[in-house]
Amino acid sequence: MWISVVAGAASGADLQLPPGIRTDAPGRTYLRYGIGRVGVSVARPESLGRPDRPGMGQHPDFPAPVIIRPEIIRKLCIRTEPVYRMLLAPGGIEIGPVLGLLLGNRNHWYTGSYLNREPERVAEVGRRTGGLMVAFSPRTLSLRDGCAYGLFFDPTRSQWSYGALPIPSIVHRRSFHQPPHSIERLWELGVQVFNSRRYTKWELYQILSRDEQLRRHLPETAAVTDGREVFDMLGRHESLVLKPSELSRGRGILFVSNDDGHFRVQDCRSGSAPVTTRLDPEQLAAFLAGEIADHRYLCQAKIELATIDGAPFDIRVVMHRTPNWQCTGMECRLAGPGQLVTNIAHGGRALWLEDAVQEAFGDAAAPTLVREEAVELARRVCHLLEHTGESFGEFGIDLALDQRGNMWFIEANVIPTFHGFESLDRATYRRLLAAPLLYAGHLAGFDVWGG
């Protein structure tokens, strides 16, 4: 049922349900909101007559009013601006969902205008789930005051505003700049956090390589400790890619290849066109010791990616829990002119999988089969990562085709960006932005996918 919360005298009780509602709730029950719970007296619905208007409470534009005593509103930090769902169960009444976006510890960074960069997400979620969306940082979660000091989306003003807010029951982790104990603290409070961990590239490789089926899709990989691993692998492979284990979006990448007794280093770290140098073995050893070792890099056999007009491309498969793992979007990312990495941030552009496969392979590959294989591989990655005991709601899984059409796993991003979809298809883009919060609404116990 869709409801609005109204502060007021509730016929002598703490809470007055909408007219005509059928409920088993006794005269005294619990009211739950976020992780908060208080005992309340409920004005008996039978004394309240028939519904004022037919259809009331069946649609977010026509919510049924629930009157709550101001003291209860203050105690639970209930915001009266949004339209909510209400669940009636023998254990009590729940008003929600109260969904959280967990931000990092750079509190000064998160202004209303910062959060308003994704208005589509908020609008889509509001239409589908109703409820309150709260953005807060672990540092502004107050156990003393029983609230989170942060921002909430106020649909009446279409903007994010500050307030002392309820602690959400489900939290979507949007940042990994928090100490691990702050996540543990949320779990202890009874808050369910998803996207609970970001694995480094090296950790990912170690987890996925335990799976026999996946192993053949993983390029040979080693962690760089003192640089000897690079020389070892250059003995077996023509070219390697060196990646920082903890960075994403194509940052910090270098390519090293054999070059007639010397080595060619293509350095993409500046973000502009790669800088190429030719080094002898001693120079390469010194370079690796100075700039790579101790920087948590890994080296990986370079896949000769399929190309379109000489530019390599990869595949981004977006997976969401809906509530099972489902592919919600797939795009290809073509490297920008003169670039070796495909990320949009490096000047790449997005195109549909069917177009990319057609342009790269002509009739030699069937886009439908490529799509099926990509989804199957991505789903397997999601299941494996989830079986580590962590909780996830979305992944952006990067795959690639080599020039012979073999599929390789490149990376799994726990908080993916969707810049490519933004240019390809706004409707898909909006759906992707909303998906993790819909999953949060589902975890909170509300029907967000229409049964």
Binding site: R106, T111, G112, R139, T140, R144, D145, Y149, S161
Partner: protein, 361 residues
């Protein structure tokens, strides 16, 4: 045991301090080392090598600041950078994410709309902020309005704008005190804007600011101390950002200026202003728990109603000595050092909102 407190400052300022023989920072550092056992060590964030055994920092000596390798590396840092260059901003961000480190005052610049938004949400402080709206193509309604930069100080580009009957808009440029008039259809292109319109906002004021010999800012310097609670380190009335009709800068002891302006009501007003300043920082710290110091500027209208017009992390200290408040200068150093001692005891997880006061709960 001696606590090592890292003070982060810009590379430029660091170089300048290393080259001088005498400075007030060094005096404060030597005093602290003697009296409270806290050793202040300076470094730009970009110089720090947190994974090494030691890192180069400057320590105070009787003859000047001396740079040396410090071992072990401090684990509590107090940031005094105001406009970090990108490399410094990255280093600060990394330091903030380092689980071994307590970094407080991660920034000294706050978005004006953020501060006003926070204060407007708090019952005790909402009357202290002028109702605002984004600066746009439409001129403001009748009355007095402040056109304020969202990320810079008032002196860098604020205008006071008064819309009268007949649609004529009179403005005063707070940068140089110049005044002028525009008609509604000339808004905003004929205004002397020093900041891009997207970085400006309109704030409606209750009345013209007043003070002794013309309008002044009523300033309070606040710091967090040994319990994490906020305290007023000093206060002053100054004519700095607002130089209407009298362009010379000048300052007075706050109590004296209040008595000169409001007569017998001055002392009571001083108490109310101080309480307002404390409420502001207690409220702001609920949302920005790492904040450790600030200077607050209020304007008072003829009825003595305060409006917060600026909250700054970087501020001139010479106002205090000019107003005869030299003890306040000492407190400005003492409080954050005591706060650092508290953080060193409690650890990074306590750099947290529960240090502050709750409101309305």
């Amino acid at each position: 045991m001696t606590l090592q407190l890292g003070i982060l400052l810009s590379a430029k300022r660091y170089r300048r301090l290393l080259s001088v023989q005498t400075d007030s920072w060094r005096t404060a550092a030597l005093t602290h080392e003697r009296t409270s056992g806290v050793r202040l060590l300076l470094a730009p964030p970009t110089h720090l090598q947190m994974d090494a055994a030691g890192t180069r920092m400057a320590a105070a000596t009787e003859s000047g600041w001396r740079e040396d390798v410090v071992e072990p590396i401090p684990r509590v840092f107090y940031n005094l950078l105001v406009r970090p260059v990108p490399a410094e901003a990255r280093a600060l961000r990394d330091l903030n994410g380092d689980q071994r480190v307590v970094l407080f005052n991660e920034t000294n610049r706050w978005d004006r709309s953020m501060i006003n938004g926070i204060l407007a949400a708090i019952p005790e402080t909402q009357s202290l902020v002028a109702p605002g709206e984004p600066f746009g193509l439409n001129p403001p309604g009748p009355g007095l309005c402040l056109v304020a930069p969202t990320r810079r100080s008032l002196r860098d580009g604020a205008l006071l704008v008064e819309t009268g009957m007949g649609g004529r808009i009179r403005y005063t440029d707070l940068h140089d005190g110049r005044t002028g008039t525009v008609v509604r259809k000339e808004w905003p292109q004929s205004l002397p804007l020093r900041v891009a319109p997207r970085h400006l906002q309109l704030e409606y004021l209750s009345g013209w600011p007043v003070g002794p010999e013309g309008p002044v800012e009523w300033r309070f310097y606040l710091h967090r101390g040994e319990t994490g609670a906020w305290a007023v380190a000093g206060s002053v009335a100054k004519r700095d950002a607002i130089r209407i009709g009298s362009p010379r800068e000048r300052c007075w002891p706050l109590a004296e200026a209040l008595s000169l302006t409001f007569g017998a009501e001055g002392p009571a007003l001083a108490g109310r202003l101080q309480a307002a300043a404390l409420s502001v920082m207690e409220g702001v710290a609920l949302f920005l728990p790492g904040i450790a110091h600030a200077a607050l500027d209020f304007w008072l209208d003829q009825e003595g109603r305060p409006t917060l017009v600026d909250l700054a992390g970087r501020f001139r200290l010479d106002w205090l000595t000019r107003a005869g408040e030299s003890r306040a200068y000492q407190r400005l150093w003492e409080h954050p050092v005591h706060f650092a001692q508290l953080l060193a005891r409690t650890g990074v997880e306590k750099l947290h909102v529960d240090f502050g006061r709750s409101w309305g709960r």
